[in-house]
């Protein structure tokens, strides 16, 4: 059952979709997804990424949970192996794109003005400036916001959501729409776990499971232990899964295998 064609209108809920019609009026049944326009553009983006064999990661979190710092560390670790580019979404400033460029990879800033999320059209608008054929991984750092970006497909392969240890282990229960569609949850700033003492990664993991989401929940830190080995490992597995997948699919779902890093 999908939400696209009206097949989710069943005998049980059909009365909600129909209504008595007053004289002089016409009731038109539409049954179309409200964000169908965004979804069509996302599908077009996805087809372009697939044709160029680019792994696209939509990185989301609240402001200040360490998305840009994680990208900086990831670029430093991987840029000798993979060709990386970044699209940065922020309400204002070029600051994050400048930080990324300092690490020697192309970065395009989308300044959204007052818009609280990126959408598929905004991303399509900057793709002309990116040589997709010369890119292996495109990270899209979404606007820092755990609410609005969840509603807008960009054409990515995977959603990765950061949850920093300073935010609270119950964030997935508070923002279910965001966390239920995460393909990977990274517990960032995990080097602070011993200092904070009150963030239990297993509670965060359980909160993700309560959303019927099997996504791995991996602690990471760009300073000190546990490092970002598990995240890099996950990325390598995502790249391998993409290379194995000749057909275009909405998701390159793969089963993450925990490495020996522990």
């Amino acid at each position: 059952m999908c939400n696209t064609c009206g097949c989710n209108i069943t005998p049980g809920n059909r009365h909600l979709a129909n209504r008595p019609v007053a004289s002089g009026t016409t009731a038109v049944h539409v049954l179309q997804r409200l964000l169908a326009g965004n979804e069509a553009q996302a599908a077009a983006n996805r087809a372009r990424f697939h044709a160029a064999r680019v792994l696209v990661i939509n990185l989301m979190s609240s402001p200040g949970s360490g998305k840009t710092a994680l990208l900086e560390a990831t670029i430093d670790a991987l840029k000798s192996r993979w060709r990386i580019a970044v699209v940065e979404g922020d309400l204002e400033t070029e600051n994050d794109a400048a930080r990324i460029r300092a690490h020697g990879v192309p970065a395009i800033q989308i300044s959204t003005g007052s818009a609280c999320h990126l959408d598929a059209h905004m991303l399509a608008g900057v793709l002309a400036g990116l040589p997709l054929a010369e890119i292996d991984i495109l990270f899209v750092e979404n606007v820092g916001n755990l609410v609005c970006p969840a509603g807008f497909d960009l054409g990515q392969n995977h959603n990765v959501v950061l949850l920093s240890t300073t935010e609270g282990e119950d964030k997935p229960a508070k923002y279910p729409v965001m966390f239920r569609q995460a393909d990977l949850v990274l517990v960032s700033k995990a080097d602070l776990l011993p200092v904070l003492g009150d963030f239990r990664p297993e509670i965060a993991r359980q909160a993700v499971r309560n959303l019927a989401n099997p996504a791995p929940v991996l602690p990471v830190s760009v300073r000190g232990e546990p490092g970002i080995h598990d995240w890099l490992d996950w990325l390598e597995q995502a790249l391998a899964a993409l290379a194995d997948k000749p057909q275009l699919a909405t998701s390159t779902g793969f089963r993450y295998r925990v490495s020996s890093h522990g």
């Binding site: 979709a17 209504r19 009731a27 038109v28 049954l31 179309q32 609280c116 279910p176």
Partner: protein
């Protein structure tokens, strides 16, 4: 607040239906917004007049049907109603469930005023 962006997308669909049916105005718009759709009905209601101002739909009433979340358990097969941040099977407690309803965000129907509509009223589909 992405409800305004949602409203603008909704308005685009409503106006294209109204234009295709040669309507003189839009009387009402009915939307389904599940509890897991990420859209807050009260905010959608407040954003609607802003988006619709100056269009065929500017006096249209927006009706939002909020559907509860229903899941089917992949282990025991039961279908149960649940809350948006607890998508567990109410039967066996498993988290291995599939969401059946509650994440939809759809335009269900539009009621149009048409100069040439019959007095009895009519229904149509697109």
């Amino acid at each position: 607040m992405h409800e305004l962006a949602v409203c603008q997308a909704l308005l685009g669909q409503v106006i294209s239906v109204a234009a295709a049916q040669a309507a003189s105005s839009v009387e009402s718009v009915t939307v389904a917004a599940g509890a897991l759709s990420g859209v807050e009905p009260a905010l959608l209601e407040r954003a609607w007049p802003l988006a619709a101002a100056g269009t065929l739909a500017q006096t249209a009433r927006l009706e939002i049907r909020v559907s509860p979340v229903r899941v089917r358990c992949r282990l025991c097969g039961q279908e149960t109603e649940t809350g948006p941040n607890r998508l567990l099977c109410a039967g066996c407690g498993s988290w291995q469930t599939t969401v059946l309803a509650g994440d939809e965000l759809m335009l269900l129907s539009v009621t149009l005023v048409r100069p040439d509509a019959s007095q009895a009223g009519e229904e149509t589909h697109v």
